[in-house]
Amino acid sequence: MSKKSFRQAINEALRLEMRRDPRVILMGEDVAGGRGGTSGVTDAWGGVLGVTKGLQTEFGEDRVFDTPISEASYIGAAAGAAATGLRPVAELMFVDFVGCCLDQIMNQAAKFRYMFGGKARTPLVIRAMYGAGFNAAAQHSQALYPLFTHIPGLKVVIPSSPYEAKGLLIEAIRDDDPVIFLENKVMYDDEEDVPDGSYTIPFGEANLTREGDDVTIVAFGRMVNFANEAADRLEKSGISCTVIDPRTTSPLDTGTILDCVADTGRLVIVDESSPRCNLATDVAALVAEEAFDALKAPIRRVVPPHTPVPFSSTLEALYMPNADKIEAAVKSVMSYRMKEEV
């Protein structure tokens, strides 16, 4: 056990699984970098933000492939390779680039098993960065996990910390279904204690990062940290919150969410993705249908506005959910009073 960054945790998960299983291969744009350059340096980048650094050096060019900037071809190739005996981990770099290869994910990899009557396995992991807060503007900042969650046949993972990232990525690589693994680009330098060896965290089992009596907060990915921060502040003013990190949006641990709402009677959902048809609306619908009687106040969603992600720091800060907005939402549901029945 030692302090590791989110970046190191992911690198370590890939390294351990590649050592364990020769069928695990890595591909993506500049996952190594340097091929064809004038310096002759190989493994020049190890990923655009250095997440896969050193893997080509250890495993060679037959396991770690740089691709042309050509998402449709290599994401499709990863799907085809997965269906024919390999276990590829393909990096899409920024999840926004899914616009260039959605067919290969949505119509091909996700549907093989069902369309082929259960006769296909597609053990494919697609890693991609998501999220605002990096001044990366509208085409490099989206949180597109609702898009993938919507598609039957895909599993969707959003780790909220280095420990979570390592265990969930190892689980993803060992999974026999296509998995979309989304890494918040702002979190790569976050650190915490992470075991040195292998471990897995099962999909569809939420983690409670805080436990309280008054309000349930469901938060996704980086938003879990903001929710924890808000919960700690609220605790001091006498409001105790449960914070749920669902870890995966598909499958979604609906049981834990419903149990917690049954206990607290109040629900705030924090989702960094665009507000229409996102995970917050999904969880709100779940609770409205299944736990209506338990609710003591309306469900509140802390989400960005229905706009592209802006570039300017001023506007981006305004756009993002944060601990202050979560705190305000929790206070508003705590102060809600049912209308007296006439």
């Binding site: 499709g76 085809g80 269906a83 091909q108 098993r113 082929f116 999974d175």
Partner: protein, 321 residues
């Protein structure tokens, strides 16, 4: 080139099976009993069969929306296919795929595909599997002149060369992408595209089994030897519309009749093999009779087969969830 007698007989049987299967579907579709979309491969049989006669079950192919011929050429049984097209639980995909998604990975058949240009990227991946797993296999993408304009196809040509994959890109050029002529929709030439991506280009008459077998054979042989990808441009004609129900108002009267009269791969095959004394007419007649009975039986069985159970709706979305 000397082709072994068993390969000739097997190939004739495959072509005859495709022809009868498709002609029968044309008739059955008109009765309204077959659900969904059906795209027929009549007239193109020698292409799929000529290519696949060079392959084994270890090799992989990806097909298109017009996929029945490729499936049969790769060895998928007509009973399971017919039942699938009728949406029955005895279908090769248990009634959950239909005409456009027939697949059998155990035979290296990576699926027909409802998305134009869907196959070529997948075939790059299958070729990568063959290369890394060192099983000696090659991967073949069949696609039409229409799909040759998809970005996914052009990207795949690039990737296959960059990674030196054992991948073959077979352009089945029937002159039409849906209702639009290739003479309008395809800029430049397939040859220039292949050469532009640094791979050898081959072309042949897709109604001549021998031409396809030999031409594709060369491309496949070099890919198997680790010499990289190639494009095989096959010129052929489709005898029915883009889909069943297409009146083909975009084709001149008599165009299909002329193709049927002059470029029938089965007639040409029979003439050539019997005149050269490679096969005798009686052996071919025997195959014709056997295939006719097999296709007839597949329709009878499909119509009698059960539809899927309600519980099947939720099955096989995931391996585990």
């Amino acid at each position: 080139m000397q082709i072994a007698r068993d390969i000739l007989l097997r190939s004739y049987r495959s072509m005859r099976t495709i022809r009868d299967f498709e002609e029968r579907l044309h008739v059955e579709f008109a009765t309204g009993e077959i659900p969904g979309f059906v795209h027929l491969y009549c007239g193109e049989e020698a292409s799929g069969v000529g290519v696949c006669a060079n392959l084994t079950d270890t090799d992989t192919i990806a097909s298109t929306h017009r996929g029945h011929g490729h499936c049969i050429a790769k060895g998928v049984g007509v009973d399971g296919m017919m039942a699938e097209i009728y949406g029955r639980s005895t279908g090769v995909c248990r009634g959950k795929g239909g005409s456009m998604h027939i697949a059998d990975l155990s035979l290296g058949m990576l699926g027909a595909n409802g998305i134009v240009g869907g196959g070529p990227p997948l075939i790059c991946g299958a070729a990568l599997s063959h290369k890394l797993l060192k099983d000696g296999g090659v991967a073949v993408a069949f696609y039409g002149d229409g799909a040759s304009n998809e970005g996914s196809t052009l990207e795949s040509l690039n990737l296959a060369t960059v990674w030196q994959l054992p991948a073959i890109f077979v352009v089945e050029d029937n002159g039409y992408g849906e209702a639009t002529g290739a003479s309008y929709a395809v800029a430049g030439t397939q040859k220039a595209r292949a050469e532009g991506f640094g791979m050898p280009y081959y072309e042949c008459d897709g109604t001549d089994f021998f031409a396809v077998y030999e031409t594709a054979g060369e491309a496949i042989k070099r890919a198997r030897a680790g010499e990289g990808p190639a494009m095989v441009h096959v010129h052929l004609s489709r005898w029915y519309g883009h889909f069943e129900g297409d009146s083909m108002s975009y084709r001149i009267d008599g165009e299909v009749a002329r193709e049927r009269a002059e470029r029938d791969c089965l007639v040409n095959f029979r003439r050539r093999t019997t005149e050269a004394g490679l096969l005798d007419a009686a052996a071919l007649d025997e195959i014709d009779a056997a295939v006719k009975a097999e296709v007839e039986q597949s329709v009878v069985s499909a119509k009698a087969a059960p539809t899927p159970e309600d519980a099947d709706l939720l099955k096989d979305v995931y391996v585990a969830y």
